[in-house]
């Protein structure tokens, strides 16, 4: 379990924009994951995604890592930004675009 947290921490810090999701941006397996990946695609942002359905350790571990019970989860520069509702709200208000412009 500790190893999983370490692995997740390294992953999160290794990418500027990282999305933990169910499925892939091309084939999302859940509507919430689809929404967030679609927003990132619309913004033409280069992002990495991890399919939590392919790794049980990460699927369980990421929820502890961020104290957040659901997937998707978006990280920018190692910071947890939010799940679907927050990302959507930030996108609609233009806040997400601002953060991405500053950090990437």
């Amino acid at each position: 379990m500790e190893n999983a947290q370490k692995k997740i921490d390294e992953l999160v810090k290794s990418k500027d924009v990282l999305l933990f999701m169910k499925g892939s941006p091309e084939q999302p397996q859940c509507g919430f994951s689809m929404t967030v990946s679609k927003i990132l695609k619309d913004l033409k942002i280069k992002f990495y995604s991890i399919n939590v359905l392919e790794d049980e350790e990460i699927r369980v571990g990421i929820k502890q890592y961020s104290n957040w019970p659901t997937i998707p989860q978006l990280y920018i520069k190692g910071n947890f930004i939010g799940g679907c509702d927050i990302v959507k709200e930030m996108y609609q208000k233009g806040e997400l675009q601002k953060i991405l412009k500053i950090t990437t």
Binding site: F32, K63, N67, W68, P69, T70, I81, G83, I86, M90
Partner: protein, 76 residues
Amino acid sequence: MAISREELFRLLKSGFPDGEIKIDDLAGDNNHYAANIKSSKFKGKTKVQQHQMVYAALKGKMGNELHALALTTEEK
């Protein structure tokens, strides 16, 4: 794996006694809800912290009994 609207309301109300809580059952299946909560407890908190407070009020049910909860939180 579902939770009734009444149970969801009760949990949210116990977490946010001053809360103005609106709940919609999106799919009519007791498993996909949208909730809007206005509470003074959100004051000075980030969105992530606000939602974490809501999840804490749901006592581990989020992601388990409750599959989907579209959440909006506002300061009162």
